[in-house]
């Protein structure tokens, strides 16, 4: 047996085949490459982020950039909160949750480094927030410790060092106070450490009435660090190993930090802690050096770096393109890179270098994402907005894809047509209306067929429908669907044949109401206007004959006109 395959828009059809023709029905398998879009919880992610995306595109271009930055940061936070909401719901499904966690971690870092673009001084504090957000178990553990009967005895008590590692000095001090109460002999030591923790300077741009420059802070910090070092040299904490460790951490002793690998758990936590205690005034451009060295120090030299690690490293190196590239490879759905790149593009952070295929990186990724959405039976509607905001190829993609949406009900067809009409895609409108009109005609729903032809302004089809009516009349002698023909209104003017149909019916009505002179006039005008089909001339003549017998009709004039008509045409 052999396998054949053919590419679809979002999937592959694989079929078994034998080269020579033989009986039996082969199986055809559909292989979908993107299962994520079929997950009900991730669908919420797609819908909510679509809303944010559209809002982002509509931010006015003419605003000065300093007004736009807080908006971009807030949009970035919106995206992240949507990811988090999804994660909370997905708690049971482990695989996707870990991917979402990684995605949110990367996004958050990109927000700190690229969108918010924190300068030296506040950079470390932002990175600290970033680490704290992603190591939230510290809070849980602390609560557990404080809630237990005798906190000082609790094994995790000394994980107070986690607090220190995250720069949470106030919380660390609170826990140490409890320990101090149990060891009155060491009270002096505890007091000393408490003092040091309290006095640690934090670069604070928001303190009211006090604007601290980087140099001022640096001086203060070095001064404090000397004090801590002094305490160490003095052996003030020699009798208590743990307090001494805390002190060593405060001076940024890397060996001690590495002893607490388990508490740090990741190399980037190690990096941030290192920066906090050794280089709090680090500049963005210096980050990559520390990042690389932290990674090497922390990770086992034999272990292969995971994709997440290289992505984070690329971010620390401010290599946005590398981040996007690595993420595209690591993740199987274009959602993350598409939206992140779009946001970064709005922040004017991507240099436009044109790719060989597609116009630029942002558009390429969005097109890929949207094309994937279009294969979904329901999410195709979201994709339309994405195509709208791809200036070069979006329209072409949309034109090709929109015609493939299956149209089971009139309501769905109406929505698709509305989408096409709003974008002046007249060809697509016509073709969809024609499909619906033909379907209606097959089911003998002439009224529906006519209403579709009117929507498409399709004179040819309207003519076809009128011919059907006229044929029916010739066959049965009466009109069907009188409610339609009697009430055509201005739609009558869409095609000559349709006009004739409406007027011919009106003639019958007038005759039925015995308004013979009006009927005669109408019949004559129908003849002279030359909109009657050839096949109907005999019928018109036959209709004219009884009129001539009526008293009100001026039969000489009428007869002359009729004869003229037949002789001259």
């Amino acid at each position: 047996k052999h396998l054949g395959f053919v590419w679809g828009p979002g999937d592959i059809l694989v079929y078994e085949t034998i080269y020579k023709a033989s009986g039996g029905c082969p199986f055809v398998h559909e292989v979908r490459k993107d299962e994520d879009i079929y997950s009900p919880i991730l669908r919420k992610l797609f819908n909510e982020s679509h809303h944010i995306f559209v809002g982002l595109q509509r931010i006015r271009e003419d605003l000065p950039s300093k007004n736009k930055k807080p908006q971009f940061v807030s949009i970035s936070k919106n995206y992240r909160s949507v990811i988090r909401a999804c994660m909370e719901e997905l708690q049971q499904v482990a695989g996707i949750v870990s991917i979402l966690l990684a995605v949110e971690l990367i996004w958050n870092l990109c927000e700190v480094l690229f969108i918010d673009a924190a300068p030296a001084g506040s950079l470390v504090l932002h990175l600290l927030d970033w680490v704290r957000l992603h190591k939230a178990d510290v809070d849980e553990k602390a609560r557990e410790v404080l809630a237990s009967e005798s906190p000082a005895e609790h094994q995790a008590y000394w994980d107070v060092i986690s607090y220190v590692l995250q720069g949470r000095m106030d919380e660390a001090r609170q826990v140490l106070v409890k320990q101090a109460a149990l060891q009155p002999a060491a009270r002096v030591m505890f007091k000393l450490l408490d003092n040091l923790l309290m006095k640690m300077p934090i670069f604070n741009v928001h303190s009211p009435g006090e604007t601290q420059t980087l140099t001022e802070f640096d001086v203060k910090w070095r001064h404090w660090r000397e004090e801590v070092d002094h305490c160490l040299q003095d052996q003030s904490f020699a009798s208590n190993r743990h307090l001494e460790d805390i002190c060593k951490i405060l001076v940024g002793d890397e060996d001690v930090l590495l002893e607490y690998k388990e508490l740090l758990s990741t190399w980037y936590h190690f990096l941030v802690t290192r920066l906090l205690f050794s280089h709090p005034t680090v500049k963005p451009t210096e980050l990559h050096y520390y990042a690389q060295s932290s990674m090497h120090m922390f990770l086992d030299t034999r272990s292969v770096p995971e994709p997440l690690d290289s992505i984070l490293l690329a971010a620390f190196e401010f290599d946005i393109h590398q981040v996007i590239k690595d993420c595209s490879i690591a993740l199987n759905n274009w959602w993350f890179v598409g939206h992140l790149t779009d946001l970064l593009d709005h922040c004017k952070l991507l240099q436009s270098h044109n790719l060989h295929f597609g116009s630029n990186l942002r558009e390429f990724l969005l097109l890929e994402y949207a094309s994937g959405l279009f294969t979904h039976h329901s999410l195709w509607q979201l994709a339309v907005d994405y195509f709208d905001h791809c200036p070069e190829f979006g329209r072409v993609y949309l034109e090709l894809q929109i015609e493939r949406v299956p149209l089971d009900t009139e309501r769905k067809a109406l929505k698709v047509i509305r989408i096409c009409e709003q974008r002046q895609m007249t060809e697509q409108v016509r073709s969809i209306c024609k499909i619906m009109a033909k379907k209606a005609l097959r089911n003998n729903r002439l009224g529906s067929a006519l209403s579709w032809s009117i929507r498409a302004k399709d004179a040819a089809f309207a003519t076809l429908i009128s011919e059907r009516f006229l044929q029916d009349y010739c066959a049965k002698g009466t009109f069907s669907d009188l409610d339609l023909i009697d009430n055509l209104g201005p739609a009558m003017l869409l095609s000559d044949r349709l006009t004739f149909l409406g007027k011919y019916r009106e003639f019958h009505r007038l005759y039925g109401e015995k308004r013979f002179s009006d009927a005669a006039k109408l019949l004559l005008s129908l003849m002279t206007a030359k909109i009657a089909p050839h096949s109907f001339w005999m019928t018109l003549l036959t209709d004219a004959l009884p009129l001539l017998e009526q008293k009100e009709v001026n039969w000489p004039t009428t007869l002359t006109s009729i004869l003229n008509f037949f002789l001259l045409t």
């Binding site: 669908r43 919420k44 009139e410 009224g447 529906s448 009430n487």
Partner: protein, 372 residues
């Protein structure tokens, strides 16, 4: 727009309906049903926004709709109505009409009755597009141009009006217990009287200008001859069915198809409409001539004719307000009720002070403090 929460439900919502509250109690509604469409597996779902069972600690989740139960539905849910407190009737794109029963004790749904080929073409099925009930009678209409009359708990069909329409019928509403009004895709309103035999409507109304397909219709709760319709061009028309062939007033409302229009059942001076353009409008008439409130948006009014006949009974000024639709006297205010940039709002329902709507963005919005 305070008090509006979005709930993402992973399915495009085609219909939302409040469960009726008994008229004696003054309670606000707390249970609603939704139907989905355009999904591989469509379903009908029952939701609750009540305080019972929702133990939430965060204020922001208060009033978040909680899913009570769900049931698979064959085909798109094109219309949905509560028959009574326990039963829901749905119209499907497969042409089937189904009655579901909601069991309160176990919080489950089950199929109680099914008319599988209620609407059909000679060779295949035709979508059933509208259903309306006056317990125990159920009237359905479809794209096949038929009107069907059923009775709940009775197997067969009570009455069929064949060839009622040569185009698709989009919506139906009761005018009186024996009269219904249908709207179709060539812009006609047709009145049908069940007391008369035969397949002819008792009256046909339509606009003299362009015949725009009509999608929704609703009757004024107190005045049985006043009807509001909305169609493909997003215009809101108010008709007096006793009076000839023209609408009483015509108002530009939306920029694309209007999917549903509802008079508020107890406060008919308020009207709500929702549309493909993603907006939900709240129309308010007031008989005083105060300066309009700052939140209201003025809308353009085209007055076709004035009603010279005073309606018999009823609140004169309120009726007149709809019929005259005179914006220069400050009678009509409209307010947008949803954030902008949304996909189509397919359905809405309003009862008491609560409004629920569903969108193609796979979200449900509930507002519990509609200013009535």
């Amino acid at each position: 727009m305070d008090g509006i929460n979005a709930k993402y439900v992973s399915k495009k919502i085609s219909k939302t309906r409040w469960r009726p509250v008994s008229s004696s109690s003054l309670q606000q509604p707390d249970i609603f049903a939704t139907g989905s469409w355009d999904n591989e597996d469509n379903s009908i779902s029952i939701w609750s926004i009540g305080e019972n069972g929702v133990s939430s600690m965060d204020d922001e989740f208060e009033g978040d709709p909680q899913l009570l139960c769900e049931y698979k539905h064959n085909g798109d849910v094109l219309d949905l109505q509560f028959l009574d407190q326990d039963r829901i009737v749905t119209a499907s794109s497969t042409g089937a009409v189904t009655i579901f029963r909601h069991h309160h004790n176990s919080q489950t749904l089950s199929v109680s009755q099914l008319w599988e080929r209620a609407h059909h073409y000679p060779c295949n099925n035709a979508p059933c597009t509208g259903v309306v009930c006056n317990s125990p009678e159920i009237v359905t209409v479809g794209e096949d141009g038929r009107i069907m009359l059923f009775r709940a708990d009775q197997e067969g069909v009570l009455r069929t009006i064949e060839m009622a329409d040569s185009s698709a019928i989009h919506a139906v509403t009761f005018l009186r217990t024996t009269e219904i009004l249908t709207v179709n895709s060539i812009g006609q309103l047709k009145l049908w009287d069940f007391r008369q035999p035969g397949n002819e409507p008792s009256q046909i109304l339509s606009l003299t200008g362009d015949r725009v397909p009509l999608h929704c219709v609703d009757r004024h709760p107190n005045q049985q001859h006043i009807v509001a319709t909305g169609g493909q061009d997003g215009m809101l028309c108010i008709w007096d069915v006793r009076q000839g062939n023209m609408p009483i007033s015509l108002m530009e409302a939306h920029t694309s198809e209007m999917w549903e229009v509802h008079f508020h059942p107890s406060n008919p001076g308020h009207l709500f409409s929702c549309s493909e353009d993603g907006s939900l409008l709240h129309w308010e008439t007031s008989s005083n001539t105060d300066t309009p409130s700052l939140q209201g948006n003025r809308i353009k009014l085209l007055i076709i004719s004035r009603s010279a006949i005073a309606p018999a009974g009823g609140n004169q000024s309120l009726i007149n307000a709809w019929l005259t639709g005179d914006s220069s006297k400050g009678h009509l205010e409209t307010t947008h009720m949803l954030p902008s940039q949304m996909l189509s709002v397919n359905s809405l329902d309003v009862l008491g002070q609560c409004l629920v709507c569903g969108t193609d963005g796979e979200a449900i919005y509930v507002n519990r403090y509609v200013p009535i």
